[in-house]
Symmetry: C2
Subunit: 145 residues, 2 copies
């Protein structure tokens, strides 16, 4: 295989990854709207379903985004009644984020959407290839970290 071929493959992978990710976001952003959620908010809630009462900085780390982004997302989710904020007793700088009952109730519906999405995404890809794909995804994830 020539260098040119190699390059062409690499190009295609990056472009395809770009298209898949934006298409994925568009697709399930749309379906999340049926639950009164926007794309990205599901990941924040997911972290809270694992255990709430955490700080905004912890949410930043989990979402791998900047503090102002969390401030805004938290504000919106609070306005929509899915979470609430409470000042930490020991350290007045930190805000701790908790789920409301409505926020908790979203877990099952959101997980259903995720399942739908990944069934659509992986449809027709055999088991063995999915294992390979997982390995390659992990590899790329580590490369970017």
């Amino acid at each position: 295989m020539t260098d040119t071929d190699t390059d062409a493959v690499d190009c295609e992978i990056r472009q395809s990854l770009d298209r898949v990710s934006s298409q994925m976001r568009r697709n399930y952003g749309e379906s999340l709207r049926e639950l009164n959620l926007y794309a990205g908010q599901d990941n924040l809630l997911y972290r809270l379903w694992l255990g709430d009462g955490i700080t905004q900085m912890q949410l930043c780390e989990h979402l791998k985004c900047e503090p102002p982004t969390v401030t805004n997302m938290v504000k919106t989710l609070e306005q929509n009644g899915f979470i609430y904020r409470k000042k930490d007793g020991a350290d007045a700088r930190v805000m701790r984020i908790f789920l409301t009952d409505e926020g908790r109730a979203l877990q099952q519906p959101v997980e259903d959407k995720w399942r739908e999405l990944r069934e659509k995404l992986l449809h027709g890809i055999p088991e063995a290839d999915r294992l390979v794909l997982r390995t390659l995804m992990r590899h790329m994830e580590n490369n970017l970290a």
Copy 2:
């Protein structure tokens, strides 16, 4: 392999794809800013490098996004001096988009950024696996379309 294992693999793939795509966007959004560009604008310019003077609707199709998004991106890129808009002679509804010299000059630097990005992304993944990955990416892309 049990159904539960299968499900776990699928979950991981979707999550990893999510993390890779947001990390990728963050990474190269940052490096594009050195060129006075924002993530996403490079794709619009790419279409123009293939041939400019096209309409905003054609840009929509290429970017797979909605008309208002193109209106905004075009406005910003015009203000920053990379493109200019010109009314179509035959049909007064359509705007045709052209590259300025500055816009044309971005091609090489942007392609360098892309190369850097894909080298980082695919580092350590052997040729054979990249071919498999390309196939799988294409498959997922078709599944979402």
